[in-house]
């Protein structure tokens, strides 16, 4: 075992059940060392046990599994890196693990169990290796436990990062003054937000006067390597003519303008969002657990001069893509992909990034095969059984093979909703599943 730095430990093992106790002990001890409570550490350990046991049964004899456990302040990440040669990736479709018989105890059942024990579950293909990552979050007291300060219009303000006590106060003010649908889930837990900012995953700026009264603020984080997602601006009893919203937006833009961000997006805008800085991108529908649905307009700002791009699209969504490029004024050469009878793999693989808290999942294509529609149908069925109400699929128009999923998506009731410029290798199209729409 090696310690690469203070917040990450690594262990390399042979994929052999004899090492299962060592693997589980590594995960449990690391998770506790990185701050997870006992129930959370146990959940992560059980999930890791299922994964490691599965790999021992399914991987090539003698192959290695690299495990790494990373403390990220407010959550712990448990990763497994292993070679996929002679390995049937199909089983990594969450749906492949659904037993066809009540009594069936298949190898894949363990994967489903693992996915239910953790808060996040994703995998990434890197050349010949698959990188499977589980995440488990710490638990925090909610904002209801803390008093909310009174907010009055400020005579003057400056924009700056808050200290940790100001940050908790800001979180309380956001929850007091703004609608739940404009607030990220994590804002129910002020302590969690402090940890998220401390570990560099989130950034917050507040507008405060010299005495320290907070009039508003804004929060942002990286969504992938080229996109910044922000929430807010949140104002607390400040008149719109104060210019506070504009100052917060300009400060955020100034902070990311010389980074590798090419765009910024707000999927949950507040009424104070100064829309003159943004282009309306389109809307996604968010279905609520208690019934009802909200259409949320997403606002986007491109940060660079668009040099133009070549993209791929399936003919069946060419009209959507072309219309969006025209509306958003992006210079694109669209090349159409066509199925011309070439051989493909019999199996498709799709990964799922689950956010149970907000009842949403983002599906990512990993491997294209002939059964793509069946796999998608199975995903929809499984996720609906799991009461995941919002199912999205992310297609990268910079990867032509992604586009071959289009007929299957449309056949399963997905519709293209948003086009995100430069958010992948090329532009991304976000499809949303619409219940009752499958053909």
């Amino acid at each position: 075992m090696e310690t690469s730095h203070l917040t990450e430990v690594k262990l390399t093992l042979q994929a052999d059940l004899i090492f299962l106790p060592l693997a589980t002990s590594f995960v449990e001890q690391s998770a506790r060392a990185f701050g997870l409570g006992e129930p959370e550490a146990l959940g992560l350990t059980l999930a890791a046990e299922e994964i490691f046991a599965y790999l021992c049964r399914a991987a090539a004899p003698g192959s290695e599994v690299q495990m790494h456990c990373t403390g990220r302040g407010y959550y712990v990440e448990q990763g497994f890196l292993f070679e996929v040669r002679n390995f049937n990736m199909r089983v990594f479709n969450l749906t492949a693990s659904v037993p066809t018989c009540e009594l069936a105890e298949t190898d894949e059942t363990g994967l489903l169990i693992a996915s239910r024990m953790v808060d996040g579950f994703r995998f990434i293909q890197k050349d010949k290796n698959l990188h499977l990552i589980l995440t488990k979050e710490k638990t925090y007291p909610s904002f209801f436990d803390l008093p909310v300060p009174e907010a009055r219009p400020l005579n003057e303000f400056s924009v700056r990062p808050p200290d940790s006590e100001e940050l908790k106060m800001f979180v309380n003010l956001v929850n007091e003054h703004h609608l739940a649908q404009t607030i990220p889930m994590s804002f129910n837990f002020p302590g969690k937000v402090v940890d998220m900012v401390a570990c560099g995953d989130f950034f917050v700026e507040i507008a405060a006067d010299r005495a320290g009264h907070i009039g508003g603020g804004l929060i942002w984080h990286w969504d992938g390597i080229r996109l910044v997602e922000f929430y807010g601006p949140y104002l607390f009893n400040q008149p719109l003519e104060s210019g506070m919203a504009q100052s917060l937006i300009e400060s955020c833009i100034g902070a990311i303008a010389r980074t590798h961000a090419v765009g910024m997006i707000n999927r949950n805008p507040t009424r104070e969002l100064p829309t003159e800085y943004f282009d309306p991108l389109g809307s996604l529908t968010f279905r609520q657990r208690g019934g009802g649905a909200l259409d949320m307009m997403a606002y986007y700002r491109h940060l660079e001069e668009d040099p133009g791009l070549l993209v791929w699209a399936h003919p069946s969504i060419n009209a959507f893509v072309a219309d969006e490029y025209q509306r958003l004024v992006f210079a694109r050469e669209i090349r159409l992909v066509r199925d011309q009878g070439e051989s493909t793999s019999p199996w498709s693989v799709i990964s799922a990034e689950l956010d149970r808290g907000s009842s949403r999942v983002m599906l990512h294509p990993i491997w294209l095969g002939n059964d793509s529609e069946k796999v998608l149908e199975a995903y929809v069925e499984t996720l609906q059984k799991e009461e995941i109400l919002n199912i999205f699929f992310q297609m990268d128009l910079g990867r032509p093979w992604h586009c071959h999923f289009t007929p299957a998506l449309l056949g399963c009731g997905f519709k293209p909703r948003l086009l995100l410029p430069y958010a992948g290798k090329g532009d991304l199209v976000i499809f949303q599943h619409e219940p009752g729409e499958s053909s």
Binding site: G254, A257, R301, H302, P307, V329
Partner: protein, 368 residues
């Protein structure tokens, strides 16, 4: 290659640094945007081109000479500069554009842990070169669109090595007067290097604008940058230089890359130095273009920031990157200012009247 790991080889300050992606060639942009022509109003180039003598120098450069190395330190060009400014040839270092001499200065004086000070909304290359050299950057907000002298002085600490001033400032066109620059240099009192970037020196007509070159003898810690990419229309050949006191330039010479300036550039720049008529014609064009733009922008109710230099900034009621795309569809290329930390602003190069009219026409349609 099982153990190949680029991640482990890259320093953290390089991983953090975002490489600059230049614009695609014009013909590629024209193809993507579907326009029939392109007015280049993005890089503050001189649409009149190089002075006639430079053009003749370029034409008469024999292809056979391409096989021979140029003067490694621009010998004849430096002598020409020394004649023009009344200094010694050794007081000049010539680079492949002024961008290269920025690197010479930072590498000569800074090591890890040191910092440089500049403004938040100015030419980005001081900040970039420092960052990818692992040097800290302290940025001071502009005050009334101009470099804040006291703000910069307040940021100095024991590890501060260089203060960069862009005079006039790109993109606001504001400048420090002779008196203000002198006061700043007096406050610094030789304890830090002060770089005054005078890339747009030849465009300035204001009487109280200082000539940094005239202060070099008095302030041994002063470095002045000049370029041939703007007024002299030699952007395509890449040549610029720095000047300073003999001792200071000798120190910077340690990090100067020799042979980086090609022979055509040296000869074209040498021929340009004495062409005052070219300066006057260009200034006239800039004066006329600015007057036209100011009048038309006022008609469109679009605020603008116009100072010295061959450019002005326009404040837009929408995203500058969106307006960029709309203008490109109409064959006009400007510079978005988001990267300069001026969101919803564009900078437009002052050009010939035909281009100015095309710009105003396209802008009016774009902000409707």
């Amino acid at each position: 290659m099982r153990n190949w790991s680029l991640e482990q080889l890259l320093p953290n300050y390089i991983k953090r640094f975002e490489p600059y992606t230049p614009s695609k060639p014009d013909e590629e942009l024209i193809k993507f945007y579907g326009c029939s022509h392109l007015y280049r109003l993005n890089n503050n180039e001189n649409p009149l081109g190089p002075p006639p003598a430079s053009q003749e120098a370029i034409r008469s450069f024999s292809p056979a000479r391409a096989a021979v190395y140029p003067s490694g330190d621009a010998y004849h060009f430096r002598h020409k500069l020394s004649d023009k400014f009344g200094k010694q040839p050794e007081q000049f270092l010539v680079g492949n554009g002024a961008n290269e001499v920025i690197s010479f200065v930072i590498k000569a004086f800074c090591e890890q842990g040191d910092n440089i000070i500049t403004a938040d909304k100015t030419f980005a290359v001081y900040e970039w070169v420092a960052e990818f050299s692992g040097i800290d950057v302290r940025i001071v907000p502009l005050k009334d669109y101009a470099f804040d002298d006291q703000g910069m002085l307040d940021k100095i600490d024991v590890r501060t090595k260089i203060l960069f001033l862009c005079n006039p400032n790109n993109p606001t066109g504001t400048y420090w007067s002779h008196e203000k620059l002198r006061h700043f240099l007096d406050e610094i009192d030789g304890r830090r290097i002060v770089v005054v970037d005078e890339a747009y020196f030849e465009f300035v007509e204001a009487e109280d604008y200082p000539d940094g070159m005239s202060l070099i003898d008095e302030y041994p810690n002063l470095v002045v940058f000049r370029t041939f990419s703007k007024m002299y229309g030699l952007a395509g050949l890449r040549i610029g230089y720095l000047a300073g006191g003999l001792q200071l330039v000798d120190a910077i010479r340690h990090t100067c890359i020799v042979y980086s300036v090609n022979g055509v550039a040296q000869e074209a720049a040498l021929a340009a130095v004495a062409d005052d008529d070219h300066l006057l014609r260009t200034r006239r064009m800039v004066r006329d273009g600015k007057a036209f733009l100011k009048k038309q922008l006022s008609k469109l109710n679009l605020p603008f920031i116009s100072g010295e230099g061959n450019f002005l900034m326009v404040k837009l009621p929408m995203s500058d990157t969106l307006v960029y795309r709309k203008l490109m569809k109409q064959g006009v290329m400007v510079r978005t200012m988001t990267g300069f930390r001026f969101p919803n602003h564009i900078r437009v190069t002052i050009s010939k009247m035909e281009a100015m009219e095309a710009f105003i026409d396209a802008l009016a349609k774009s902000v409707q």
